[in-house]
Amino acid sequence: MAKAIPKWVQERLSKLWKKFEGKEMTYEQIESVLKPDEKTTISVFLNELKKAEWIDIRRGEDARVRIYTIKEPNKILREIITP
């Protein structure tokens, strides 16, 4: 069940959504959109999204690489509003 996310996470998420919508993204792609955020900020950002269940994470073909997909915002909002 998705939960609410902090404002600063929402702001960055909307930047990513504008660029990728529901498409898969790598960490490098996320980093390039969220510039000038530092690595620690990005990892806390991704952790907040993971905790709140706003993002799907899977391992890529190279197991060291993670692939991220933002869940459909309307679906998430429905989950939050109608638990």
């Binding site: 902090p6 000038p36 530092e38 620690t40 806390v44």
Partner: protein
């Protein structure tokens, strides 16, 4: 200004952050106040000459420099600084700014000597406690020190955040309950001893009960910008560990030639949207405009400050507004952790460093 008492008004269960109210002969104020320290005092001296208003805070500190060649503390200007503090209804706190090596080699004789040196110069008299001291040892020196004080004066014990971990919580807890002011000489929150002691400080402060009398915890000597912690403000970092009054480290080893070459884009400015310090380039990338330059332009030259001073002066004001925001959340009983987590700098700091330290109660 004479302190009557400090009482706990609220304790946030989740973060352990405490709201305290201090009552003085000149009125009342809440905790989380940034003191006018050496740099801001220099700014204020320029502003006063031009009849411009000064900072509204009940605290002024004067960090004292160790003069290596004369082997004594530099006390020049202390009298004028105290006068400025009194004129602006502020508590005046001088502080012998020691580095880690000086703290490690500090003896009781030296502490007593420094205490006696400041005895006739201030109403809040600091007493630096050697880092190996036990509570019993401190109590015997405290008893002696108290006999020197007049009725107008208060003793301010100062502990290093790198004090022996076996003794730190006992001394801290004792003074938190008995003193009006309790000084903590801080670092960059990087070492394990420091983190353990700050963890004690945070949890002992969070255990205070509403209505209980307690000390104001005066955090001294920390970096203005916590460069090891994503440029969060030192005042916020130490708020998370129970700090009530904040006085950043004074930079005595300034290279003036290097300083001359700096441009505004080289200086960290407090960004109150991100709740951390940033530089011009990052601001342009994020917002499409340069916050630092706006800050400089918002204080005209006619106010007596150069661009370095304008950035530092306004950054201090913006940080204080953010600390007031935390107090407002506490007064309104809003869930503090949730509010704090809405801001990048604060959330990232709490999620990284603070997670290594015991939470709240």
């Amino acid at each position: 200004m004479k302190i009557h008492q400090t009482k706990v008004e609220a304790v946030d269960e989740k973060t352990g952050i405490v709201l305290k109210r201090t009552i003085t002969d000149k009125g009342e104020f809440l905790n989380r106040k940034i003191a006018v320290s050496n740099t801001i005092y220099t700014c204020e001296k320029n502003r006063v000459k031009l009849n411009k208003p000064v900072t509204n805070t009940p605290f002024q500190t004067q960090h004292l420099e160790w003069n290596k060649s004369n082997e004594e503390w530099e006390l020049t200007g202390l009298k004028k600084a105290k006068k400025h503090a009194e004129k602006n209804n502020r508590f005046f706190i001088p502080f012998n700014q020691r580095n880690q090596e000086q703290w490690a080699s500090l003896t009781w004789d030296e502490s007593l000597e420094d205490f006696r040196d400041l005895l006739m110069k201030t109403n809040i008299v600091p007493f630096n406690i050697p880092i190996t001291a036990s509570l019993e040892e401190w109590e015997s020196y405290k008893k002696k020190a108290l006999t020197y004080l007049s009725e107008e004066q208060n003793l301010m014990p100062v502990l290093s955040s790198k004090h022996d971990v076996r003794h730190f919580p006992l001394i801290f807890n004792n003074e938190l309950k008995q003193s009006h002011f309790l000084g903590i000489s801080c670092y960059e929150i990087t070492g394990s001893i420091e983190q353990i002691n700050l963890g004690f400080m945070k949890s002992l402060n969070a255990k205070l009960k509403v209505g209980e009398n307690c000390a104001l915890v005066v955090c001294l000597n920390f970096p203005r910008v916590m460069s090891r912690h994503l440029q969060v403000a030192g005042s916020f970092a130490f708020t998370c560990f129970g700090g009530d009054v904040f006085s950043q480290k004074a930079n005595f080893s300034m290279d003036y030639d290097q300083l001359e070459e700096l441009t505004p884009s080289d200086i960290y400015c407090y960004d109150n949207r991100e709740k951390k310090f940033t530089k011009s380039n990052a601001q342009k990338e994020r917002y499409g405009f340069d916050v630092t330059n706006n800050v400089i332009n918002s204080i005209p030259v006619s106010e007596g400050l150069d661009f370095h001073q304008s950035i530092k002066y306004l950054s201090q004001r913006l940080q204080q507004e953010d600390l007031d925001l935390i107090n407002n959340f506490l007064i309104q009983g809003q869930p503090l952790e949730q509010e704090i987590n809405n801001y990048t700098g604060w959330n990232v700091f709490l999620s990284t460093i603070s997670s290594q330290i015991p939470k709240g109660k």
